[in-house]
Symmetry: C2
Subunit: 263 residues, 2 copies
Amino acid sequence: MSKTAAPALKTQAEKPPADPARSLGLLWGSHRRPGRSGLTIRAIVDAALQVADTEGLDALSMRRVADAVKVGTMTLYSYVPGKDDLTDLMADTVMGTVYADVDEPRRQGDWRAALRFVAEKNWALHLAHPWLCQLNRPRPVLGPHFILKYEAELRPIDGIGLRDVEMDALLSAVLTHVGGAARVYHGLRAEAQASAQTDQEWWLTQAPTLDRLLDVRRFPTAARVGQSVGDEVQAAADPEHTLRFGLERLLDGVEALLAGRTG
Amino acid sequence: MSKTAAPALKTQAEKPPADPARSLGLLWGSHRRPGRSGLTIRAIVDAALQVADTEGLDALSMRRVADAVKVGTMTLYSYVPGKDDLTDLMADTVMGTVYADVDEPRRQGDWRAALRFVAEKNWALHLAHPWLCQLNRPRPVLGPHFILKYEAELRPIDGIGLRDVEMDALLSAVLTHVGGAARVYHGLRAEAQASAQTDQEWWLTQAPTLDRLLDVRRFPTAARVGQSVGDEVQAAADPEHTLRFGLERLLDGVEALLAGRTG
DNA sequence: ATGGCGTATCGTACAATGTACGAAATAGAC
DNA sequence: GTCTATTTCGTACATTGTACGATACGCCAT
C-alpha cells in the first residue's frame, strides 16, 4: 500500500551492544589527555554542561557541543562513543560538586542533621542542573564522583542501627524524594516561563477553566485540597515545603524504628 | 563555513503557544465521536497504549500509531493536536485503571492501610506501563481520570489531622517514592534484557570490573553497602523491599506527627 | 439524482537529530 | 623526507514530529 520501501525493518528492539566495560572505562579514565587538536574530554563535558545548564537539555545536541568547542561534529566521537556516554559523564561530573569532601555530611552532627544536609545539597544540585531529572538513563551511572557521593552520604547513617540494605533504601528514599520535588518545581517554573506569566498568574488563568470542568460535587476533597495547594503556590514557598514535610516524616519514621530496636 | 542555509535560527527557546485550554478541552472532551473514517480519539489512544506497553516508549511514533489504526500519519493530527497531547491522553487514560471506584482506597481500613493500598496499586500501575516514568511532561496532566485518582487517594487521609497542604505533600511523597522505586526497577530490568542476562548475572559480570576500579580503601562504606545490596538483588526481591521500607518509615513518621498533635 | 461546499484525509516536504562511512590531514618514527 | 597510524570531519542516511496543500468524500439543498 504505502510506497515507502523500508530498507530494513526492526520488529525487535535491537541496539548496538553498548559495551558496559567501555562506558565504565570512559567514566573512570583520564579526561585531560588532549587530542591532536588540543581538545580534551573534560573540555567537551564542560561545554556540554554549559549548554545544558543555560539552554536546557533539549538544546544539547552533538552539533551544538561541537560548535562550542570549535571542532567538527564527528570529532566528538573520537573522544566519546556516543551521546549517552556524554550525558553519563555530565552527570558524574556534577556529582563531584555536591560536597566539599567525603566527610562533609558526617560533620553536620547526628544522622538527622546529616540527612537534612544531604537533602539540601541535592536540592541545590537539582536547582543548578535542571536537566538532571530530565535525562532518563535507565542504568545508574557508577562513575567515580557518583561513588564518592554515595560514600559521603552513607557514612553518617552507618552504625546507627540500620542494616546495610536499609541504609541504601533510606538514602534512596531521601534522594528520590528530593528528585521528585525538584521535578515538580521545574515543572512549575517551565510552565510559568512558557506562558510568560508567574506561577500565580498561571493558576489564576487556569482556575476558571478548571472550575467549569472540575465538579466540586464529584471531587470534593480534590477540589478543596487543590485550592489550598494553589493558594500556597501563590504564596510562593511550596515545593520546598513539600520537600521538607516528606523529609521530616521520613526521618521521624526512621527514629521510631531505631527507638523500637534499642528500647 | 557550513553550507547549510538555515532558514530560521532559534537563539531562544520558542515553542508554539501550546494552548493549555485546547489541551484541557481535549482531555475532558468526548473521545468516542468518530470521524469520517470511523476513527476515534479513543481508538488512537488505545493503539498508542498498545505500542507503548509492548514495545516501549521509544517505539511510539506518530507513524507507528497511524499504521496501527490504518490511516495516514497526518490523519492523526485532525484528532489530536500533537504527540504531547497524545501522551497526555495516554497518561490520563491509564490513571482511570488504578482503582475500581473513587472510594476503594478508603475502604481498605485506616489511613495506613489505605496508603499501603495506594502504594501497591501505583506500583502495579508502573509495572504495567513502564513508559509512565519515562515520559517527561513537565506540567501535570489534570485530566478527568487523574483528578478522580487524586480524589480517591486524598479521601482516606482527609480528616486524620493533617492540613490540606500536608495531605497533598504526604500523597506526593508516597507517589514520588513509588515512582522512584519503579524507575530503579525498570532500570534493572532494562539492563538485564539489554545484556540478555539476568540481574544476577549482570552483577556478576560487572563485579570484577567494579572491584578493580572501586577502591575499598577510598570507599569503605560504599563498597560494603553496595556489596550487600548486590547480594540482595541476587536474592531477587530488592526494589520492592526498598519501596516497602521507605513507605513504612514515612507512615511511621506521619503517625508520630499525629500522635504529637493529639497527645 | 445532482451539484456544491466544508471538512476529513493524507502524500509530500522540511528541519532536526544521532551517527556510520570513508576520505583527508597530520603527528611521530625512522 | 617518507611511511604509517591515528585524528579530524564533510557527507550521507535513517528517523523523528509536523506544516502545507491537494484531494476526496459525506451531507444538504435542490
